[in-house]
Amino acid sequence: MGAARTSVLVQEAEFDVAALQRGLLRGDAAEGAVATFTGYVRCDNEQRSVSSMRLEHYPGMTESSIEQILDEACRRWPLLATSVVHRVGLLQPGDPVVWVGAASAHREAAFEACEFIMDYLKTRAPFWKKETGPAGEHWVAPRSSDDARARRWRGGVA
C-alpha cells in the first residue's frame, strides 16, 4: 500500500475539519475508516473559569516532534494517512485547538492511532498553555492522567 502520507501544521488560523478530513483520502477508495479528534478550549479547566488561552510553542522542535509521533504511529499501525493541526497564539473558549486524523482500511487501526497520537502530543510536543481568568494569568500544569495515558502505549500496540 506504499508509505503512509503524513502532514503537520502549526498555525494561528482556525482550521476546517471537513477539508482536513478530505485531505486524508487518497482518492482511490482504499480507506474504510477515518478517526478524528478535535480538542477545544473549555470555558473552565479544573474548576477555574477561563476567559482566554495563549498557546506558546518551540518553533522547529514542535513540527519535528509531531512528525516523529506520526512516524511512530505509522510503524505501529497500517495507516494510509495521518495528519495533525495544532494552533498557537491567543484562543477563546470554544475555539478548536488541535485536530488529529488517521485513515486506514479498517477502524481498529484508525481509532488506536488517533488516540495514540493525541496521548503523545499531550506529553511530547513542546506546547504550553497559559490561561487567563478572573484570578489572572496561570500556566496550565501537566495532568498526571495524561502521562498515565501515554505510558499505556510503551509496551507496543495495545
Partner: protein
C-alpha cells in the same frame, strides 16, 4: 557559539527568551553549561533550572541526563508540555 532558549514559565521567570554564548571547554557539556548559566545569573536561575521536572533539549531533541555540546548547538530549557 551556543544558543540557549527558554520557554513558557521558565522564560517568564528568568525574563529571558534566548541568549548566546561562545562555545568553550567550560561549556562543552550540558550540565556544565547549566552550572555556568546559574553561576553567571544568580540564585534565581539556579532555583528554576534545577527544578525536578525541568526538561532540557539539545538541537530540538529532549535529552535525559548530561550530554556533550558542540559549537553551534541549540539548547533549550522548558517546563513539562501542556498542549493538545
Amino acid at each position: 557559539m551556543l544558543k540557549v532558549l527558554f520557554f513558557a514559565r521558565v522564560r517568564e521567570t528568568l525574563d529571558c527568551a534566548q541568549l548566546e554564548l561562545p562555545w568553550s571547554e567550560q561549556v562543552a557539556r550540558l550540565d556544565a553549561l547549566q552550572d555556568s548559566l546559574c553561576a553567571q545569573h544568580g540564585a534565581r536561575w539556579r532555583e528554576v533550572l534545577e527544578e525536578d521536572n525541568m526538561i532540557r533539549a539539545v538541537n530540538q531533541v529532549v535529552v535525559q541526563g548530561d550530554c556533550a555540546l558542540a559549537d553551534g548547538d541549540e539548547v533549550a530549557f522548558f517546563p513539562p508540555v501542556t498542549g493538545g
